[in-house]
């Protein structure tokens, strides 16, 4: 066992279901102690990848290792050192909070005072002190999710796998959940998390964006923004955002302005262009022709959402 080995290494990981290739030649490394985000739309191959990484599914080609051990050959050595949580299915609904935690404890061989101590920690972390006897099905989504996370780390795993942990949970609970993940990382736990929420991607140390089974962006959020973005993002607050989008797309098509992307963000418009300073004047001119006033126009740091939309267009 190599303590310096990366938390997860995937090389050429491929899964075919008949003619359909769900995951296609995927490579990635997850370093120790980071939150690694695995992003992608529904059906992009996220869950298939996490299932192969957990040893629940046999890859068609390629290999994946966790903590330097082959998932396929050394499953039994890996299992005690990883934790797994999926938002919906981790807990037994008809068991009470305490019964669920006890089951996790017994599964990972915790006993006596250590078990009691860990269960106490878990209850504090989930904010469920005094509700030990509540049936899990009677907890609301956010509580259940925090309980599932506390249960998944009861045995203090080295690597924690989270499959869509925040699906269907309200934004405040999601925020609280991510705060908990930062605490875990501070305790040297590596977190591998799949999600389709773009805003959560910004919270990850590094991430991979998967689409149709292939990784199309990989690295830290800053790296991805730098490498994947062709130009800068200009945020415009016009008097009529919808018409602005239409006008600017027309100018792009006629070749008047070199605009890569024109996207509507509520009452704002994001424009991607290789040379923003030059286009600024052109945009102002094109819009004033159509009697649209510009309240504000500035160059902004692109969000990951900008980047991914750009990536997916290609």
């Amino acid at each position: 066992m190599n303590e310096q080995a990366p938390a997860i290494t995937a090389r050429g990981l491929t899964k075919k279901f008949g003619d359909f290739t769900a995951v296609n030649q995927v490579d990635f490394d997850v370093h120790r102690g980071e939150i690694f985000g695995f992003l992608g739309p529904n059906g992009s191959g996220k869950t298939t990848t996490i299932r192969m990484t957990l040893g629940l599914l046999q890859p068609t080609e390629g290999s994946v290792s966790v903590l330097g051990m082959s998932v396929h050959k050394e499953t039994e050595k890996i299992r005690p050192r990883v934790g797994y949580m999926s938002q919906r299915f981790s807990l037994y609904n008809d068991l009470t909070v305490l019964q669920n935690l006890n089951f996790y404890g017994a599964a990972y061989g915790l006993k006596n005072s250590l078990l009691e101590e860990r269960i106490q920690d878990a209850l504090v972390m989930a904010g469920l002190e005094g509700r030990e006897q509540t049936k899990t099905k009677d907890l609301s989504g956010g509580w259940r999710q925090r309980l599932a996370l506390s249960a998944a780390i009861l045995h203090r795993p080295d690597v924690l796998f989270l499959d869509e942990p925040t699906a269907g949970v309200d934004p405040i609970s999601r925020r609280a959940f991510w705060d908990l993940l930062y605490i875990l990382v501070a305790e040297k736990i590596t977190v591998f998390v799949t999600t389709h929420y773009m805003d959560e991607a910004e919270h990850c140390h590094r991430l991979a964006f998967i689409q149709r089974g292939k990784i199309i962006a990989y690295g830290s959020p800053a790296e991805i923004k730098r490498d994947m973005m062709k130009g800068q993002v200009l945020e415009i607050a016009p008097s009529d955002a919808a018409r602005t989008v239409k006008i600017l797309r027309d100018t792009h098509q006629t070749g008047k302005l070199p605009l890569e992307e024109v996207e509507l963000y509520g009452s704002l418009v994001h424009v991607v262009s290789p040379d923003v300073e030059k286009t600024k004047a052109g945009i102002t001119a094109a819009l004033s022709e159509e009697k649209i006033t510009i309240d504000q126009m500035e160059i902004i740091e692109p969000s990951l959402e900008d980047v991914f939309i750009a990536c997916m267009r290609e």
Binding site: F89, L91, D94, F103, G109
Partner: protein, 392 residues
């Protein structure tokens, strides 16, 4: 009767106490599910007992009081006598006297009567005439074959006596001078040919199969349906630990169910235990493991509990047909007879009946015990391999 289970448990236990602890953890969790889902164990424990109670109660008495319709066109002493004799067998009760065929046909169509007796106008005349050939048309409702057979037996008895009497009369002999052919029939094992003694031991055996099969089939399909199986597989449980942990409640409840059912038929329906009770319990335990293996395979094939349930119904129905309970195996076509011999339930029912009614021991039952052991080993090994492969 599945040494592979016992072998694996026996060789793996000393390996580590942690394995035992993990098995207990799963078994404990299963028992919590059962406590929360109370109707399930209640059904498992008392469903069989209730079923047996109904079967035993309905079949414990001979068939009596079959409704009969009479169209007496003769209205003579002789015609009244034959009707009275039929009624005196206790098998029949008069539904009505009628005077046309339409009413009889209608009543048969509706299923209101099982038997119709039509006495011809010249019935008494032909009996009195030394060379007369009296006939007695009787219609049986064959749609209900079991009452029809009971009716047929009663009618044949009555008409044979009558035929004998007419013959004697015409020969001018008195009954004392005549001794006809009397077969010396003796019924063993069920002296009174009590239907309940036949049905309840068979049902007892079948209910054990059904209970274990259903219970085992839900064990994994339930977690699959809920989505929790993945979590279980990611935990450090080996497939064997999961299988054993899940099997323990099935074994305990199945066995308790069998003991409850056995006590019930013994007390309520006087079903004797003429052979060794210990042997019966040991074989019941072995048979339970065979069905457990089948149930686990069904459980791992099915994606939902619903699917598992339907598969159990299918397997149970096929088994039932080949146990020899519904129709004797000896009367089946050769291919079906062969198939019956590879159905564990068939051998199990022979064993139950043999021990309970015949007081048979291993010296007599060994072919069935051996067959069960061989089938059990094959099914057990296959199930264990198959379920482990599916879980790994």
């Amino acid at each position: 009767m599945s040494p592979i289970y016992l072998y694996t448990i026996f060789t793996c236990l000393p390996k580590s106490i942690t394995m035992l602890r993990r098995i207990i953890a799963i078994a404990q969790k299963e028992f919590i599910h059962l406590r929360n889902d109370w109707w399930m164990p209640a059904f498992m424990l008392f469903g069989g007992v209730l079923e047996l109670l109904l079967v035993g109660w309905a079949t414990s008495r001979p068939i009596t009081n079959l409704p009969i319709m009479v169209w007496d066109q003769d209205q003579s002493a002789a015609s009244r006598e034959i009707v009275t004799t039929l009624i005196n067998t206790d098998t029949f009760v008069i539904e009505d006297y009628v005077s046309d065929m339409d009413t009889i046909e209608d009543a048969l169509d509706r299923g209101d009567i099982n038997v119709a007796v039509i006495i011809p106008p010249d019935y008494s005349e032909k009996i009195a005439d030394p060379s007369g050939q009296p006939t007695l048309p009787i219609i049986l409702n064959g749609a209900e074959s079991i009452p029809a057979l009971a009716a047929l037996r009663a009618i044949e008895g009555v008409t044979r006596d009558l035929g004998e009497r007419i013959t004697l009369q015409r020969l001018g002999m008195s009954p004392d001078e005549f001794e006809s052919f009397i077969p010396s029939l003796r019924v063993w094992f069920n002296e009174a040919l009590n239907e309940a003694l036949y049905t309840t031991p068979a049902e007892l055996g079948l209910m054990l199969e059904f209970t274990v099969l259903l219970f085992a089939s839900l064990s994994l399909s339930r977690e699959k349906e809920l989505g929790t199986l993945e979590q279980l597989l990611v935990m450090p449980f080996s497939s064997l630990e999961i299988i054993i942990g899940k099997a323990i409640p099935v074994i305990i409840i199945g066995f308790v169910d069998f003991v409850l059912m056995l006590s019930m038929v013994n007390i309520a329906f006087d079903v004797p235990i003429r052979g060794s009770l210990l042997l019966l319990l040991i074989l019941a335990f072995g048979y339970l493991l065979v069905e457990l293996g089948k149930g686990m395979v069904i459980s791992v094939i099915s994606r939902t509990q619903h699917q598992a349930f339907l598969l159990v119904m299918l397997v149970g129905m096929v088994d039932f047909m080949f146990t020899g309970y519904a129709a004797p195996v000896e009367g089946m076509p050769k291919a079906a007879q062969f198939f019956a011999n590879i159905v564990p339930a068939h051998h199990w029912l022979e064993i139950v009946r043999g021990i309970l009614l015949k007081g048979a021991g291993l010296d007599v039952l060994w072919p069935h015990v051996l067959a069960l052991a061989i089938l059990g080993t094959i099914i057990g090994t296959f199930s264990l391999r198959y379920v482990r492969r599916a879980l790994d």
